[in-house]
Symmetry: C2
Subunit: 183 residues, 2 copies
């Protein structure tokens, strides 16, 4: 009785974007390893065939989604850089930005999924380095190279712990630790 679904207007870029966004959500929910064509398609509200039409393989699909998330993060890092440039108390400002970043746990989980996956899969390392080096590099002008490296490690560790134990991060405590690492 019911025929096929009325066809959507053609829009390749919108399809790619919708699939990439859907990948991010699926990864946040089930992890990279359990992300499937079908779950992504369902999440995007698109037919299964769309995933293979636009991406030759599942790895390409997932990689595109992760690149999508990383790009958004990169933009956020630029905003952080601007904020820190005008901050009177850089340590407290950075701590606040980190706490804000962690407020969206779904997104943060995707990032850390990416890092752990990059540990196993060299192809993902450039993406992982976007955040790791991005945070470090944006701190260098404020703190110098060594302190930037240490603060970046501290922040990554604090976020990872907060995610793994499902606890909040205390802004004042984090700011105090950042200050200790900063000359």
């Amino acid at each position: 009785m019911t025929g096929r679904r009325p066809q959507r207007p053609r829009d390749p870029e919108a399809r790619r974007a919708a699939l990439a966004a859907a990948v991010v959500e699926v990864v946040a929910e089930v992890g990279i390893g359990r992300t499937t064509h079908r779950a992504v398609a369902a999440r995007a509200g698109l037919p299964l065939g769309t995933t293979t039409y636009y991406f030759p393989t599942l790895d390409d699909l997932v990689a595109t989604g992760l690149a999508h998330a990383t790009e958004a993060l990169r933009a956020e890092l630029d905003a952080w850089s601007a904020r820190l440039g005008t901050a009177t108390d850089p340590a407290a400002t950075l701590a606040g930005l980190v706490v804000g970043y962690l407020a969206d746990r779904r997104r943060a989980r995707v990032e850390y999924e990416l890092y752990v996956a990059a540990a196993r899969n060299p192809a993902l390392r450039p993406l992982a380095e976007t955040w790791l080096h991005g945070l470090r590099d944006l701190l260098i002008p404020h703190t110098g190279a060594t302190a930037a490296r240490d603060v970046a490690a501290l922040v990554d560790g604090a976020v990872l712990q907060a995610l793994a134990t499902d606890t909040k991060l205390n802004r004042a405590d984090l700011a105090a630790a950042i200050r200790r690492l900063t000359p």
Copy 2:
């Protein structure tokens, strides 16, 4: 022509241990999400049926493997505690222990797989906390509570970055950062 394989001697505990050890290796190679009954059985050199005979479900099998790894880590943490107790330069000693820990990347990757999985799956949190809290708690007598928390975060972040970017960790640099966080 060839009949069935000559049957192994009965040894339930050896089977469980072999399966748990195989889980750890498979997780190190493909991640938690892509760990399968068949891969674990092959790795352990046991027939597929063994996995389901001893573990009702795949989740149980994986959880047992992760618990196995965590238990080994717990033992190592006790050794760390002993070493730090007699150390003349605790920061350098801890940094050395961390670098040594990271020398076995396979094992370290399993731990971080676990943390990221725990972020999504509350059932895994107790296991994740073994390391997270274990490291922190063993530092408390040496540094006090706040510094212990911060040093633990720093170490976790440094290890994660080293894993994700496949780089080494510099012991002297890490020791210097630890010292800054320690009163």
